[in-house]
Symmetry: C2
Subunit: 349 residues, 2 copies
DNA sequence: TGAATCAGTGCAAACGTTTGCGCAAAAATC
DNA sequence: GATTTTTGCGCAAACGTTTGCACTGATTCA
């Protein structure tokens, strides 16, 4: 049997409550006694029992991580694992535990989440996506259960805690980067606009055009269908139309990669005929030919910050619902700039 | 305050112990009473308190998931998230919790693991890699703590539970697939051979050659350095040498992708000059041009099986250390076969 | 000098389960 | 009908913490 608080108390010649208070560094214990207790803990290799501690203090020190209910391809995006790693790393430091919950459908997810919250398995959920009218998010909100969103909240904005990039600004910068290269016919390829990041990036793109006095061409602003076949068809149509754009902002590296393929097929050279900027700065952006200019959203940091906020709110229930914006940065590579020198950073990979 | 076992007991007119036993479907409670209790539970929306239950039964119903301590690039491999999703999904069903632990160095990992096991935060660890002389794995073994490896065990093989593909067979099949296409000069590009999967794939490659009466050329069998720059250099040397191979088995899609790039640079066409088979069947394999023939290792299933084994061993401590082999399959695409028709499955993506 | 304050500790009751054991009542045995 | 066995359930003691409250001895204040 593992060493308990009583063993430590006995060895140190104090009561269990004194040991407990020493662990918490309670001010009403004298430094002298604390030292004595600490020595005993050290000697016995004491580690407080997680379950007992949680039961007594009526919490779980556990954070649920909710993956979006999606097709397998979605998870190929390294964003999710990086966010999870950020969360984990912070949790590990703070002696918290995290549990990822995943499901194929929204309903499946919801049912797991319901039992988890009712059984006190978790203190709160970090939801790794933000989507309009999502039943999971709505449920959490309606139940008043603690949750934080990665991505911008869609409704109840002032009451929900979220961690996000400034996707509008990011897309604006991406677009302005292209404008600076002399482009005027700039298109945007996005995904499902009920996902907040996609909608925001589109907004940023449009904002940049407006600010720079470029009129918005609706044909240039596309919400692509989910199926890859249809995506390809839509992209081809765009690229072979009379008003072919000379530059494209793409909401994701994977999609941008597909775009590069299509360009090659259509004998359009990048960045001469079509310049490209995309998002996520994943490995694929570095491996693509030509290498993709991409916006790094710091997904690991998004994870860290969301865990930090979560724990903060668990331990201080009356905190306001704050928002955190994690900085992004534009990683310029070959797909958007003519005659670019081989840069050291891309070379070291 | 949430509804407890006492509330249910009161409503059903029985004692708390009867409620508890009903939950466990204990045989010594009459079906009649059970039904009464179940109705009460239903009515109150009772969900057993996770912490209390764990404390009383002296376990944690929590599984730690150990990511390898690596550079960021490693995690771009979708293998890890898929494995985690498999584990999570199984845990969610079984009312278990999982917590991923990650660290930049082996020491960091080890220290987290130590406190986790001592504080009873987890019942066991699923280690998502298998490596020679790894201090984490060694620690777990020496402490006699429950763990299961994804990948083949390196030592204490009969005492450790592991879930793996038959990587030897997989690599053998990959190689024989190339042999069937008429290739005789076949090379193998692997990574760090202290990682078991890499060593096994090499072994399978060599086995296939031997069986088919092809002498092994040491130059053809490479353990590539970690840095991408050096990798590229080594590959280029191989491809420009006098004895240039006509086909290559590559231990990972990402590396194979890089190989394709180099081939293009050297004006070698795929699969005519160089045929390629790789591993993991990730998105990148489907997006590459030409599309990569790749071995799918069913990482999600590896996750499921490892969680299943883990829970089985948690609940039955005296079980033997079994091994589970998850099937793989070869997904044939353009990189290994001449004049391949566009297949439906690749088209649907 | 006596009352009031305070710092430092311990007592014991939670927290919500699980489970060994005991005890009735019912069933089986003779 | 008396004895034993079985069935079904409840009692109460764990499990290892946390924490409100009480208590003691020392210090301060008037």
């Amino acid at each position: 049997m593992a060493v308990t608080i009583k063993d430590v108390a006995q060895l140190a010649g104090v009561s269990p409550s004194t040991v407990s208070r020493t662990c918490k560094d309670h001010p009403s214990i004298s430094e002298e006694t604390k030292e004595k207790v600490r020595q005993a803990m050290q000697k016995l290799g004491y580690e407080p029992n997680f379950q007992a501690s949680n039961l007594a203090s009526q919490n779980s020190r556990t954070i649920g991580i909710v993956l979006p209910p999606s097709a397998r391809e979605t998870y190929e995006n390294s964003f999710y694992l990086e966010a999870i790693r950020g969360i984990s790393s912070f949790c590990n430091q703070k002696q918290y535990i995290n549990t990822v919950v995943t499901g194929n459908t929204e309903e499946e997810l919801l049912s797991v989440i319901k039992t988890m919250s009712r059984s006190g398995q978790v203190d709160g959920f970090i939801v790794l996506y933000s989507k309009q009218d999502d039943i999971v998010i709505n449920h959490l909100y309606n139940e008043g259960f603690l949750y934080v969103l990665i991505g911008k909240a869609y409704q109840n904005i002032n009451q929900t805690i979220y961690i996000d990039n400034d996707n509008i600004l990011a897309a604006q910068e991406a677009t302005e980067h292209l404008i600076k290269q002399g482009h005027k016919k700039i298109a945007y390829l996005g995904g499902d606009n009920s996902l907040m990041f996609s909608a925001d990036r589109r907004a940023g793109y449009q904002l940049a055009l407006t600010i720079n006095g470029i009129t918005i061409n609706p044909k240039y602003c596309q919400e692509l269908p989910f199926k890859q076949k249809d995506q390809i068809k839509a992209i081809k149509e765009l690229l072979t139309s009379d008003e072919r754009p000379s530059a494209i902002v793409v909401c994701d590296d994977i999609l941008a990669f597909t775009l590069e393929d299509i360009c090659e097929e259509l004998k359009l050279s990048i960045p001469e005929d079509i310049a490209i900027v995309s998002f996520n700065n994943s490995l694929i952006a570095k491996l693509a030919t030509p290498k993709l200019t991409s916006i790094d959203v710091n997904s690991y940091q998004l994870g860290i910050e969301s865990a930090s906020q979560m724990i903060n709110h668990i331990e201080n229930p009356n905190l306001m619902a704050t928002k955190i914006i994690v900085p992004h940065h534009l990683e310029v590579r070959e797909s958007s700039v003519f005659h670019r020198e081989e840069k050291e950073e891309s070379a070291t990979f």
